[in-house]
Structures are given as C-alpha cells and as structure tokens.
Symmetry: C2
Subunit: 543 residues, 2 copies
C-alpha cells in the first residue's frame, strides 16, 4: 500500500464559504502555487513508488474491487483534494495495472520517458483546444510540424513538398487523433467519401448518403478488403460507416501471418465483376496478435492497378521506419494512400494519441466541415478536417518524443525490442514446456504452454484436435492464473495460422517494447508460467 | 517572455552511449526522480506565470508563428529535454492562448481547479488503458462509478436501479469519450443500429450495412431531425454514419433559439408518410452559438409518440442539472434515450473528456464488438462497447471533479456564470455602442457593436439589409482586431434568430464559465471593443 503524507495547507482552510472555497480552487494565487507545489511532490512520490513496482499488478479479484466503487450519490459537499487523493492511494492506485513494469509484457504498453509526465502537467496547465487557432495559436503550426516530420520519415518526399505543404492550411499531411481506432476510421472515411464523391447531378456521399451513392454509381454493395488479422477497429469502421461488417472481406492469412496475395487478387476481381465497390484495401504492418507484416509493396501494386485506396494500419509497426536494420520490412509503405501510426505505442507517448497520415495532402478535403461559430472556411483551424471536435494538445508528446528521443533513440528502442523478442523466442524454443507458435517478425511473440504428457506429441507434430483443445484450456487457465497472481503478465489471443492449419488455437502473446525489460525479466515471466502450471497441476489429470 | 532556469542534472550527462541515454530516460532511478522533481518545479513556475496572464493572448500574427515551425527533418540526435523545454518557453508557450484568462470569454474554456494539473501528471504516471481490465483494473469500476453518479444526477432512477446496473458489466449507463463530438456520434450510432436491428432473415444494419437495412425495412431514406442550431458534429455524424448531410433535417429555430414544435411535428409526420426512417430526434440543451435550450419535455413526447430515439446534446448545458435555480430549464431531459455532456466544458475538467449517457443500460449492446486478443465477450472490459479503442484514464478528472467540487460547488459555478451573463447583458443593453441580439437563456450571450451613425436606426428597429451587412463587416473586423491585439477575447458567430427575422447576422459571442471572471473583467472586454472600434474608425466612413 502506498503511503501518503498529508500536507498542511488544505484548500478549505482558505475560506469557509462556498464562494471562497470555489474561487480559491481556481485562483492562481501564491497560496495555490504553494499548495500545488506540495501536491506535486506527493504525486511524484506516489508516481515513483508505482513506477518501481516490478510486479504486474495486485492480486485482488475484480468483484472485490467493484464492491469498493458501489456508491452512486453525488456528494453535496466536496471533499478536500487531500482527502480525495488519500482515497485514491487506498482504493485506486494500488490496484492499477503496472503497465510500465518490465514484467508486464503482455499488452502494448511500456515504461515512458520521464519527461512525458511533467509535459502532461504542462499540457493541462496550458489547456489548449486544438480545434481552432483561436484556442490554440502556436500549437497549430507546432502540431503541423510534428506531423510533417513524421510524414517525411514515412513518405520521404523532396524538401519542396514540405516547404509548400507543411504550414499550408489547405493541406493535410496528417492528423492527430485519440488513437489507432480513430485513425483507421478517419482513413476509411476519407477513402469512402473521395471514391463516392460529387459527379454531375450527384452531390456526393457526404451530402446524399451511402444508399444514394451506391445507386448513382451503379454498385451492388460496398466492401473493405484486408487479411483476417485486421484489427477489430475495422469491424467498428465497417459498422459505423454504414458498410456493415459483412462488407469487411477477410482474406486468409498465411502461416507468416501475411495476407494471401493470390486470394486478394481474386477477391478484387470478383468484387469488380459483381459491382461491389471496394472502398479500401487494408495492409497491416504489425498485426495485433502476432506482429505479422503484410507484403505491403505487392498490396500497393494491386490496389493501384484496381484504382483503390490503399491504407496501411501501422499502429504498432510504423516506427520500424526509424530502424536501418528493420525498415525494409515496411518496404512499400510510402505507396500507401493513408497510414495509421500510434504515438502511444512505439513512439512512447502516454495513452491517447494516434496519427493518420496522408500521401495526398488534399485527400482529407473529402471530410471537411465548417461551422460559423468555430471552424471557419479558409482559416488555419485544424478542426476543419478531423473526426473529433475539441481536443487536447496531445501533439506535445509526439513533438517532444521526436526531438528528445530522436531518430537514433527510436532506432535503438525498435532494434532492442526485436532483439529481445528473438531472445524470448529462443528460450521458448529451448524449453520443452513451451511451443513457439510463430517465428516472430518483429517484437510480438506467440507461444503456448504444453502439459508434460503431451510434449512428445508436440515434438512429433502429432497432436489431435482433442489434445489441442485440452492444451487450449490449459493455456487459458494458465494466463488467468498468472494475471490473477500478478507477479508477471502475458496476454492471451487466438491464432489460426500455425502449423496445425486453420484450427483456432489459444496462444500466449508477449509484446516486448519496454526498454526496461531485461533477459532476466523474460526468464522470470517464463519461469513464473512453468511454476504456476506445475503448482496448479494444469493438464495433470485430463490426459 | 517566460523565464526558465536550467537545471543542473541534464539527462545526457548520466551516460554517454545511446543505450545508456535511452535507458536512463525510462529508468525510475533515484536520479530520475530527482531530475523530475526539478522539472516539476520548473513546470510549476511556467504554469503559474502562464495562468496569471490577464491578456487573452500574445499579438503575434499567425504567419509569423508558422515561420518558426518550418523544420521538417527528424533530428538524428535527441536534444536534452532541458533544451527542448527551453525552446517551448520561447516559441510555443508565450504564443499559446490564455484559455484560463478571466478576459478570454469567447470560447467554452475556463480556468481549471488547481488539482486537475497534478492529476494530469498522476494519470500519465499510471498510464492505464481503459479499453480492458487487463490494462486498467481498478479504473474500470472507478470509471463506472463516476458515470453512475452522473447518470443518477441526470435520470434519478431509484437506488435499486443503480445497485443492479452500476458495476454490472452487461449494463452501460454511459461512456467516457474524447469529447462531445464522439459522444454525439456514439448516441446516433446506437440509435441507428438499434432501430435497424436484426429481424427474421435480416442480420441487422451492423452486419449488412445501411443500404440493405433500408431495403429490408422498406424505407426510402434515413434522417436525423433537430433544430437549425444543432452542433456541427451532427453534420459529421450524418456523413460518417452513411446518412448524408442532406438527411440532417434542420427545423427552424424561433427567436428564443428553440426548435419550432409545430414544424417538428409536421416533419415527423411527413417523414413517416414518405417512408423516411427517422434515426433520431435531437434536442439541444445549450446551443453552441447562443445557449438556447430546446423545449425538451415536448420534444421527448413527440419522439416517444413516434417511437423514435430522442437524443439531447447537453454538451454545454448538461451541468445545469446541478443548480436548484436553473435545472427546471432542462425539464424532460430524464426522458432522453441518450444525453451528451462534456466534462471539459462545465464540469471543469481539462480538454479531452466528454460523456454519453444512456437511459436504457442495454442500448449500447447495439454497437458491441469483440476481439480475441483484447476485449472478450462476457468480460468487464469497457472497450466492448465504445467508439474508441485504447484510451487514457480521463475519468480521473470527472471522478475527482464530482468529489472535490461536489454538488454545491457545481451549483455555485453554474449559478455564477448565469448571474454574470445577466450582468453582461444589462451592460450591453445600457450601452448605445452595442445591441443585444438575444436574451440570454444561460451563460452564453450574443450581441454586436453598432457604429455611431447607425445607432438611431437600431433604436427604432429600422435597419435595412444593406445597413445590417455593413454592421456585419464592422463586427467581423472588430472581432479580428480584438483577437489580434490579444488583450481580451470574444468569439464570433452568425445568428439567424434575431428580431431582424431569418437574416444571417454576424454576432459577437461571450461564454461566461470562468469563475475568475469578474464584473470588472466584463466591463474591460466591452470597453476594449469600444476603444478598438473607435481607434480603427470602424464604420466611420462607409455611412
């Protein structure tokens, strides 16, 4: 349990009336500054106690936690913040997940650079609203700069291109959004609107809607095509945009977790023959479950030949562009019409920032909107072309990362993550307790635990479906037990691209992005799994 | 210009190699804690210097600012954060908008309670991902609690309702989203999907898409109905969801900026006669341009009679529920199927948090999605039913506000904002230089400056269209001049609901939510406008 020392200057003591209390909460007085300085020190202490935890989480059960948050009455009278903070240190913080722990290697989180924390406070102190220049003056060109730097790293256009577009308010090199899901929505939205735009008497899908657009253009329906490993945000996009999730065509992925190109070509031809409008072809640079990378160059060529928008979801894998050793894996990404990259993943920004980048700076005009009270036509307001309206200055984290981590820093982080994943793969390969389910492409790894009685069958590659199902159950139990114990953490997924063919198999998934994770931490995670499996006698009786 | 004192312990001095540099950036070592403590103190100083600025902004021109952000090369080698922070204090911070200034009363921003800033740092230190319990254990019931408290304040269901639903993972009382735009999207998405759901052989719009849904249900098209003053996010929603912005039917608003109920009834009847599917009727509780509130109770009755989803956009006005004096203005809001409220507006949270609330805890099932690697069916994962995927623990600000401001605190804030708006309206009414364009309903005010030569015509209500257009130009110039000078700030909009009939009129708009704004500040803003208009000789020659 974290300890917290109460400070002496509590807010209520400044003034007893509600007016005084509230005004003193907002007034940037010297007393307030002094109060905040004390609270800053408390938060710093709490933060570092939290950040130093090696365990993945506490071992409290979720229902027990829920029982502590049952009150639903709004208090008439406020607590002092000191009292409130104390309650957070009792109920909330000790049972938060140690996403920065070197042994929490299951999800796409990591420790963050120290400077991100003070910047979060600065962002909130400035409290800009990026929707328009009237509420975010300098932040508008500043955010555009960060996006321009990222655009150039990705697309490598000549300098004149950036001289012209970087600060040109008619151009959109990219957008800062709340995360990869919104980035994917935005890309597909732009693709849909630009491919079903105004023509002759037809005012475009934006004005007349999807059904009218299909009728005008003579299409029988509309689809998005990608591999079966597309992120679930594309299900959401297909639903949200009126396409329907049946319109999300999932091409089988090969054992390397890459899309089957022949099948993609056939599907494109079939859709065209059946007058199904292809809104976009989606390539993946780092599948969520195993880090597979689609053959981007070939997909770009197929999309180009078909005149279809090509989007690459590089939410996870995008920062490979910073690695001399690994950027070849993304070859062809510069041919994508749009690219999703998350800053809160491998650019090491705090949760809540993703980007969508556009090859053509005019593409986002397809979703442009105006309002007389805020984003005006012809202005430099970033909110003219964006999914979200009012939004915070999260670009502070992106811009700061690009400058205070730099190319070489990001290269090191990417290279190290992949190197450590190779190490973990090797450990898994060498341990009879585990089976490697796919050769890792980047820094995501899928494997599973094998109960002792079945190891010889695995070695021979002779597992029956029933045996596989039993192993599934064991791995599900193991992952839950490990999560509950809280000492280490690995995620769980289902894979259909193993040597066992299209059979759905429960897999353990590691994500190795935290630079603080050492080989010893990886060993500890695997050892923890072996110990838990033994202790629970997992698979000990059913065979 | 803000001054910044360099700290001695710079990150690079810890280790010269790239490995050492990067690891030391992430390692929560005692040196790091000490470094961060120093940076915290610098940020606090920067923050308070910024927060104490009375002026609305610097007077730099946007093109001059853009010229400072022209670089588009990613640096090979990182700057130290100290150097980077110094650059921010030169180019970025001095030219950020003083959104917390008591004289920046044009947009929907305010000073924030002090405790929001340390909390921002805490949020980033914990860096939870609310998409699932595996990355946000205690935060899951904690966020649900904050939403439950808000739900009860709004809908006032009996205790048993909350005992059952508050922590029930099958129920969705509300969602935390990035802002009002996403909240409105989510509400319309739920309304669309639940009204065009699975039936017989039809698998529902979610699976089969919008065109198939219209065909199956025998509709000719689809519409959303609200007043002409709906926020522009509904234009986006209509486009995004495949409805098309032509499907957004805008009923004229009366002089009180309320929807014309007769016209609404006729439109509903007409749509039904023409087999146009009405996805939702939208009521507004606080229009963005003038704070008008629709007759919510009557609209709810119309929607209910027609069996149509009723959504209330209370992004701005929602917190009136906390005021005994003013909550009657929202009478009927508890009959809304869904309600949008922004926490970053009148709940005084930092930018980036809005909520959508649902009367029926099962409604959001209409947009439910799962993924084997993350949000699993039957889990408590909040990401099962949400627009966004990975997202930060912004609910920290909502929960803290509810507890450390409390009911009485929010009531005071709402009451004071409205009281000061009445004061400002009275000053405008008494000044021959200005014309009040609408009696304020809440704490938004629209008015305009009248050049001297035209004041007698205004007094008689005898302005010609040409004279009105000349006044429009004057007010546009005045608002731009005021914004540029930066001493005070008022926003600008276009209104069509004045005594001049449906003519579009340029208006100045004040938003009075900042508790630090005094009557003297209001006087200063109006005096600044009069002085600027005189100085610029606005309207001095054209009449």
């Amino acid at each position: 349990m974290l300890q917290i020392h109460p400070v002496n200057s509590s807010i209520e003591t400044w003034n007893p009336s509600i007016e005084g209390t509230i005004l003193s909460l907002f007034d940037p007085s010297p007393q307030a500054e002094n109060w905040e300085k004390n609270v800053d020190q408390q938060i710093l202490k709490i933060a570092y106690q939290f950040l130093r935890q090696i365990e993945a989480s506490s071992d409290i059960e979720l229902p027990d936690l829920m029982a502590q948050f049952q009150e639903f009455h709004l208090p008439d009278d406020a607590s002092s913040f000191d009292t409130y903070l104390e309650s957070l240190t009792k109920t909330l913080i000790p049972h938060s997940i140690h996403t920065s722990s070197p042994r929490f290697i299951g999800h796409m989180t990591s420790a963050l650079p120290h400077f991100m924390r003070p910047l979060a406070k600065l962002m909130t102190a400035l409290n800009q609203n990026l929707v328009k220049t009237e509420t975010a003056k300098a932040f508008t060109p500043y955010e555009r700069q960060a996006l321009g730097i990222l655009h150039r790293s990705l697309y490598q256009f000549p300098d004149e291109f950036y001289d012209y577009h970087l600060q040109n308010s008619h151009s959109t090199l990219g957008m800062v959004v709340s995360g990869g899901t919104s980035a994917n929505f935005t890309a597909i939205w732009c693709a849909r609107n630009s491919s079903l735009g105004p023509k002759g008497d037809f005012k475009g899908i934006e004005k007349e809607g999807l059904a009218a657009a299909l009728e005008f253009y003579g299409y029988q329906g509309q689809v998005i095509i990608g591999s079966s490993l597309m992120h679930y945000s594309f299900e959401k996009a297909a639903d949200l945009l009126g396409i329907g999730s049946q319109g999300l065509i999932k091409i089988p992925a090969s054992r390397h977790n890459r899309i089957d190109l022949d099948c993609l070509r056939e599907t494109v031809a079939e859709c065209r023959a059946q007058k199904q409008h292809i809104i976009a072809i989606v390539g993946i640079a780092g599948t969520t479950d195993s880090g597979g990378i689609d053959p981007i160059e070939e997909m770009a060529a197929i999309a180009q030949a078909a005149g279809v928008h090509f989007h690459v979801d590089a939410a996870w894998g995008g920062p490979l562009i910073f690695s001399q050793q690994h950027r070849h894996k993304l070859a062809g990404i510069e041919q994508a019409d749009s690219v999703t990259i998350d800053a809160h993943k491998q650019l090491y920004a705090p949760m809540g920032i993703g980007m969508v980048m556009f090859q053509n700076p005019q593409l986002a005009k397809a979703i442009e909107k105006h309002a007389c009270y805020t984003v005006r036509e012809g202005s430099a307001d970033l909110g003219q072309r964006s999914l979200e309206g009012s939004r915070p200055a999260m670009s502070l984290f992106l811009h700061a990362g690009l400058h205070a981590i730099g190319l070489k820093g990001y290269e090191f982080l990417i290279d190290e993550g992949i190197r450590k994943t190779q190490y973990m793969a090797e450990q898994v390969r060498l341990s009879p307790e585990f089976e490697l389910l796919a050769e890792p492409e980047i820094n995501l790894l899928i494997y599973r635990y094998i109960p002792e009685q079945l190891r010889e069958f695995v070695a021979k590659g002779e597992l029956t479906e029933t045996q596989n199902q039993a192993i599934d159950l064991v791995n599900e139990q193991l992952q839950k037990a490990q999560r509950h114990a809280g000492k280490t953490f690995i995620a769980r997924t289902i894979t259909q691209t193993t040597r066992y063919g299209p059979m759905a198999i429960v897999a353990l998934r590691a994500a190795l992005a935290n630079p603080l994770t050492t080989e010893a931490d990886i060993d500890a995670v695997l050892d923890d799994q072996i110990a838990l499996a033994t202790q629970l006698n997992l698979g000990g009786s059913q065979f």
